[in-house]
Amino acid sequence: MELLALAWKNLWRNRRRTLITLAALSLSLMLIEAAHNLSFGVYRTMIDSGVRAGSGHLTIYRQGYLAARDEKLSFDPDSLADTITGFDGVAAVLPRLYLPALAQSSRESRGVLLTGIDPRVERRINPFLKKLPDAQMLTSLNGREAILGSRLLKELQLKPGNKFVVTLQHRSGDLVSEMFRVHGVVETGIKNVDSTLLLVGRERAAALAGIGHEIHELAIILNNPDAEATVYPRLQALISQFPGLEAVSWERAMPNLFNAIRLDYASQKFIFVIMLLIVTIGVVNTLLMSVMERFHEFGIILAVGASAMRLRTLVLFEALLLGVISMLFGSILGSLATWYLQDVGIDMRSFIDQSLEFGGVVFDPVLRAQWDLTWMFQVAVYLLFLTLGAALYPAIKAGRINPVDAMRHH
């Protein structure tokens, strides 16, 4: 304890050096924490919007549907949706059905994917509908209102309010048709979506296809992606009572999104390793320098009768104090930076020329950070150990020096 106090006093004897070292350590910690939280936030957002536009964090399918996308593989969600909505951590359950169909106006026709949805839930979740005015949203499960992609609308030469006819294959094999009216228009900025998207109430679509109340996909959106760990097993248990159904995680249901994020994440990790290495060398060097410059001083301490062990402990204690202070201070700065990046974020639009219209759905133009406390703690502890490790070599060496040589050293 007495040594610790001495170490503390020692630190402030050369205030300038200590402050520089502290600044280096805490600023490094801040940078790396803020950078990580930013990219963590961006990934979360990417996964979140990908999952919301796609098939959810978890999805229930008839077995085989995922691979074949065969519209015959539908199932009755019955009480499932309600049961799952009651699970802890589940934000929403989206029943959907997908039917390849032909859309026809008086002038043109196009192949589309008729998607039957539950408008009330979908409105809350689906990022494609984010920009859609309330007045353009579907109002019922079995109405004749439809939401079309902007490109599809143009190609069919339709205007809002116009009718068009959807023809598809009934479960019996016959061709059946139904009239719908353009109620809403969605522009996602994704060509493929804008030219094929056709959303209608799911009961109308199911009735048209002759599959009663059945659906193809039950997309489950979680409040927090981490809830998957608890919800998935419960879901599995529930599904096991329904032979022929399977529950799939988004990683399996949307391999493309998963892999894109993983690839991006791998490269980010690589860059983070580099960043950590750069910070490490900076920290180690600053510390080594600050300790080694003091061999003269150590010589005096040894000469006045301190044991080598005591000197070593002193050096390590100083490093420990430096580490703890910069750990705290750096984390505070890192938290402030994270808080700013979460609240305000970085608006990419200010970097890119204005003519570029961002999809707004897949790419959120504002990058925002999210807290990853575990990681922040880990990297702070890493910094502490780094500080101690960097002091270890000079500490050992300091105990070994010959007082006379050391005092001459310089």
Binding site: L31, G189, R262, G282, N285, T286, F351
Partner: protein, 406 residues
């Protein structure tokens, strides 16, 4: 005189010098590597967007890319004459496109046929590198076909099988003929793998009854990021009725991906620079600051403040230069290693289709001089500043105070 003193000072305190240098060498090398990896990812992304299908620039009749109307065709001679004069164009491919029904045994599927001259097409797209079975198109005259893996599976064909292609030809007649499957490609792009077929240009011109006609000329240029400038250069030289589009016009989503990637790269690179700069700043700053006493002595024996500043400037300059020399060597070495070997992630990841392109699961690097020179000069400036500040302070002090300073 001062130069010699500076060099001797550097040599005299070897431990300090080595510490300072190691910071410089390691951080600059890592920074150069990181920048190289970023450039590599951008290149892969661009290549994925362009080298599978469109190329970097496409010349076609006005409006063709929008409606793919088969009658918007042209004869390539005038365009070819223009292209052959430009040396920035590293390749071009003449293409005719036809939509129709492809069938084998009881199976049939709609398909997009791209009539190409194989030797030219290879300069623009890299489908020949994505074959899973069979071989690429051989010559212009034969009726071979290279098709996507999904389409091949749907039709149930293998190399050597005979396909029938039926379409409505340009004269309204029912165009139909046989094709022999020569190869199957897998790009990872759902659309291409499930509908695209490469066939000889001459064959398709015959079946479509469009003799001598093409729909587009796809170009490959030196620098895909300069596609817009390249297009602007070529535009006035083109025959009337034709337009030139860049990959960004054809794949607007890809342009957004690249733009947003550039922003996030900017952010990360800024942080990297800050971290590197901070480390170097500290090391240099401390190494000079610790010598305040020494400067006091120098001042006391009559050295002028200006000389001290110059001395430190020279010292840090030489050290910076020396450190950077090794740093660049290391950075270039690491980048080259990453460029050649890379980190292959295909064990855990499959190819990713993204905004019209496919990204292979691999981390590589590209060596660009801007990725070396810019960080090198930045870091040198940082170290000079870091050395100058304490030296300036010491030079302004009274010798006695400086000597007394701990």
């Amino acid at each position: 005189m001062l130069t010699r003193l500076a060099l001797r000072n550097i040599w005299r305190n070897r431990r300090r010098t080595l510490l300072t240098l190691s910071a410089m060498v390691v951080s600059s090398a890592l920074l150069i590597l990181a920048l190289g990896v970023f450039s590599g990812m951008l290149r892969d992304m661009l290549a994925s967007a362009t080298e599978q299908y469109y190329g970097h620039l496409v010349i076609s009749a006005k409006g063709y890319q929008d409606d793919r109307d088969m009658y918007r065709s042209y004869t390539p001679e005038a365009v070819e004459k223009v292209l052959q004069r430009k040396e920035t164009i590293t390749g071009y491919s003449l293409r005719l496109r036809g939509f129709g029904l492809l069938s084998f045994a009881r199976n049939s599927a709609p398909a997009e046929l791209l009539g190409v001259i194989p030797a030219l097409e290879e300069q623009v797209t890299s489908l020949q590198n994505h074959l899973v079975t069979g071989s690429y198109l051989a010559t212009d005259s034969s009726a071979g076909a290279v098709l996507g893996v999904g389409l091949a599976r749907r039709l149930g064909v293998r190399p050597g099988d005979e396909l029938v292609f039926v379409t409505q030809a340009a004269d309204g007649s029912i165009g139909n003929d046989l094709l022999t499957v020569s190869g199957v490609f897998a790009t990872g792009d759902y659309g291409h793998d499930n509908s695209l077929v490469l066939v000889p240009l001459g064959w398709l011109q015959r079946v479509m009854v469009l003799p001598g006609q093409i729909h587009e000329t796809a170009l490959h240029i030196d620098d895909p990021l300069a596609a817009a400038a390249g297009a602007a250069q070529l535009r006035p030289l083109l025959p009337a009725g034709l337009e030139i589009l860049t990959w960004g016009d054809l794949l607007p989503e890809m342009r957004e991906v690249v733009a947003s990637y550039n922003v996030s790269r900017l952010i990360v690179v800024t942080i990297l620079y800050l971290a590197t700069g901070l480390g170097i700043l500290n090391t240099f700053f401390m190494s000079v600051m610790e010598r305040t006493r020494e400067f006091g002595v120098l001042l006391a024996i009559g050295m002028r403040p200006g000389q001290i500043r110059l001395l430190i400037f020279l010292e840090t300059f030489f050290m910076g230069l020396f450190g950077l020399a090794f740093g660049i060597l290391g950075g270039v070495g690491l980048s080259l290693y990453m460029a050649r070997v890379g980190i292959d992630l295909s064990g855990t990841l499959t190819p990713i289709t993204y905004a019209g392109g496919t990204i292979l699961p691999r981390l590589g690097a590209v060596l660009e001089w801007s990725n070396v020179l810019i960080p090198a000069s930045c870091l040198l400036a940082v170290s000079l500043l870091a050395g100058f500040l304490p030296a300036n302070r010491a030079a302004r002090m009274q010798p006695v105070d400086a000597i007394r300073e701990e």
